[in-house]
């Protein structure tokens, strides 16, 4: 099966082509089935591949053809199947399948149904390429491909300005990240003479520290762009303008984790480049707490989830940065499930409320939407890291990793973030599902979603609840570590022997953090002690800062963009007036010269004759000068 691994992306590609060519005219709603069928088949194959890898096929390269070969630069279109990529394949296809199914229901009444599934399939294809690639350049194809699909799907409702703006913003900020990726990639080739992972990692030793740091920082810029880390995070919340399945699949479960995957993939490089790893950890931690604080005060249910995603991605980078890539990937997987579930749940709510996203108008919905409520409760618990839900295990892995790496400050940040996380998820769920309905009109019309939408929710809920158990016990010798470990750790790295009691202690702290957050949330929103409104008033400036997302959008969208536009405008003026003006000026000069010279043509014969005589004098002097040697010959 591994040899046929290319079938996995080929099916979505086929679905994309079929839907793209015939969807709008002929297939219409069949497109959903085609796309879903394709990805489901891919999921089955991914499972088979995963099992084979599990069965001992640890590292296989499947080459299709040579893509680019110029001089000593060669890049193939080939897949690397190892535990890491097989896990990713599995996550992408399985979560993808569920979301595809959900979307069949969610998008049923949209007139862009065929288009939606065309692009969704393309996304699946690109994402699969991204995770399968055996070299950085091919990964970049997927990398940009998912970026493109993200652009297309955020701007799916293209007749409105906001989605368009969000789509452009997403693509542009990603491009800034891609710039870093490009630099990292090219530098990698310069240093190692190859872009294939295995060849590069085998030669890590030949690179200097400076080289490695440059490469890793550059790659991390790329990862930060894709995974919405500071300072390139601001596109992701805006990306919620797209249809909810898009948010779930692309902006929560898969695409945004590509950055994490990239760094995890490059662990050998990052580990060898110490400072870069530090940067990753710090940026991850700051992003985690930064986004969590913003999530505290949002009222748009999808925005809460979006900032939560940014925050959770921060966790993953924190994990990578502290040298716990397994934990990062593990969290990536669990997060894919519970965050997809949260988004889909939100989508279900929004769908049920007729496209209302403001939590202030919800409330008490648990009676109207029980399935949604219960599944989201599971996901919320996972996000708040309550044992035994999946989120607990993975987040605990991260936090203990941070603690054990000796960077207790980062660990502390993680714990604080965990409290905040638990708080905002409590707040969101309470505002949505509990209490009294605040908008009776909306409440009247609210209804549970059809089965095609709730079934995926249930499936995801099961995943969110149980996936954590995969970690095994004790965690650091459990299944995940033994399976993923070899793929992402550098050979010969010192094994950490950890006391079990330490681990349990750390777990207790993180559970406590989660519970503290929930308690505060319940206290504020159920008991109104303290009353949220009072807190808001008391926090004053801080609250405004958070509501305005630290004013970063203002800075980006207005100050920087305006400044650049103004500068480019000046350049254009320079082009038209100075450069072109110079060219036209030369022409005008000739014309002015001509105008002057023609005035010598007076029309009077005597003047002409005089000119001849003057010319004679000049010629005479010139010849005389030559004869006398005044002029050089």
């Amino acid at each position: 099966m591994i040899q046929d691994v290319w079938l996995i992306p080929a099916l979505p590609l086929a679905a994309f082509l079929v839907n793209g060519l015939f969807g709008r005219r002929f297939l219409r709603h069949a497109t959903g089935a085609i796309a879903t069928g394709a990805i489901a088949a891919s999921a089955v194959m991914a499972t088979l591949v995963f099992l084979e890898v599990l069965g001992g096929q640890e590292r296989t390269t499947v080459t299709l053809y040579r893509w680019i070969g110029v001089g000593d630069f060669t890049v193939n279109v080939s897949a690397l199947v190892d535990p890491l990529s097989s896990v990713m394949l599995l996550v992408v296809t399985v979560v993808g399948t569920l979301i595809f199914i959900f979307a069949n229901g969610y998008m049923a009444h949209d007139h862009g149904f065929a288009r939606f599934f065309t692009w969704f399939s393309l996304f699946a294809f690109a994402m699969l390429i991204l995770v399968m690639a055996d070299n950085y350049l091919l990964m970049f194809v997927g990398w940009e491909g998912v970026g493109l699909c993200s652009y297309l799907l955020i701007g799916f409702w293209f007749d409105k300005p906001a989605p368009q703006h969000a789509a452009n913003k997403a693509f542009w900020m990603n491009r800034i990240g891609d710039w870093g990726y490009t630099i990292g990639m090219v530098t990698t080739f310069l240093v190692f003479g190859s872009l294939t992972y295995t060849e590069v990692f085998a030669k890590v030793g030949i690179a200097t520290q400076a080289n490695l740091t440059l490469i890793c920082i550059a790659f991390f810029v790329g990862a930060a762009g894709k995974s919405a880390q500071l300072p390139l995070h601001s596109w992701l919340p805006d990306a919620m303008e797209g249809p909810t399945p898009v948010s779930a699949l692309i902006h929560a479960a898969t695409m945004v984790t590509a950055g994490v995957y990239l760094v995890a993939r490059s662990t050998p490089l990052f580990v060898a480049a110490g400072p870069a790893l530090q940067v990753v950890a710090v940026v991850g931690a700051i992003t985690a707490i930064f986004a969590a604080t913003i999530a505290l005060v949002q009222f748009d249910i999808k925005r809460v989830m979006a900032y939560s995603t940014v925050s959770q991605l921060g966790y993953m980078f924190l994990a990578l940065g502290v040298g716990a890539p397994v934990a990062a990937i593990f969290h990536l997987a669990t997060h894919a499930f519970f965050k997809a579930l949260l988004f889909l749940g939100s989508g279900s709510v929004i769908h049920g409320l007729g496209n209302e996203q403001d939590m202030r108008k919800m409330g008490g919905l648990r009676r109207k939407m029980p399935v949604t409520y219960w599944t989201m409760l599971v996901a919320g618990g996972a996000l708040a890291a309550l044992p035994p839900l999946a989120g607990f295990w993975s987040k605990d892995e991260i936090l203990s990793g941070a603690f054990l790496s000796g960077q207790t400050a980062l660990w502390a940040v993680g714990i604080v973030t965990a409290i905040l996380t638990a708080f905002y998820v409590t707040r969101a769920l309470w505002l949505t599902f509990h209490g009294e309905p605040r908008d009776l009109h909306l409440y009247e019309h609210a209804h549970e979603s059809p089965a095609v939408m709730t079934l995926p929710l249930v499936a995801l809920a099961i995943g969110s609840a149980t996936l954590g158990l995969l970690v095994g016990f004790p965690p650091d010798q459990g299944f995940i570590h033994s399976f993923l470990g070899p793929a992402v750790t550098v050979e010969g790295a010192a094994e950490r022997a950890v006391e079990l009691s330490t681990l349990l202690g750390l777990a207790a702290v993180s559970v406590a953090a989660g519970i503290v957050g929930i308690v505060i949330g319940v206290a504020m929103y159920v008991r109104h002690r303290p009353d949220p409104a009072a807190v808001t008033r008391a926090a004053g400036p801080i609250y405004r800062l958070l509501v305005n997302k630290y004013y970063i959008d203002e800075l980006y969208d207005h100050r920087i963009v305006e400044a650049l536009r103004a500068f480019f405008g000046v350049l254009w003026a320079f082009d038209v007036h100075v450069i072109d003006g110079l060219a036209n000026g030369i022409g005008r000069l000739a014309a002015v010269g001509g105008g002057g010279a023609r005035r010598l043509q007076t029309g009077v014969v005597g003047n002409y004759a005089l000119t001849v005589v003057v010319g004679l004098l000049v010629v005479l002097v010139a010849y005389g000068g030559y004869a006398a040697g005044v002029f050089k010959r």
Binding site: R599, V604, A609
Partner: protein, 103 residues
């Protein structure tokens, strides 16, 4: 003869440049034509003087002069015809006034 050729040539050059000056100064086309004739005469004088140079007399200068006579006659004939035909259309021979075309 004790007068050197140079003296004749000097006279001819003075005559020539008086002619040139006349062309440049006078307005009347006929007078300008006369001045051109003076210039041609200066050439004649020079040619004859050169051709009668002591030691190396050479008839060619004189022959040249004969041809210049012919040419001068032809030139004057055509020139006066041109002046006349111009005068018929517009009764002036003042070259300062003949300047419809310029620039």
């Amino acid at each position: 003869m004790n007068i050197p050729v140079g003296a004749f040539i000097a006279v001819s050059s003075i005559l020539f440049f008086i002619g040139v000056a006349g062309v440049l100064m006078r307005r009347n086309a006929v007078v300008i034509l006369m001045c051109v004739e003076l210039m041609l005469n200066a050439a004649n004088l020079a040619l004859v003087a050169f051709s009668r140079r002591a030691g190396s007399p050479d008839e060619r200068g004189s022959v040249f002069v004969v041809f210049i006579f012919v040419i001068a006659a032809a030139e004057v004939a055509v020139g006066l015809a041109i002046v006349l035909s111009s005068y018929r259309n517009r009764p002036t021979v003042d070259v300062d006034e003949v300047q419809a075309m310029k620039g």
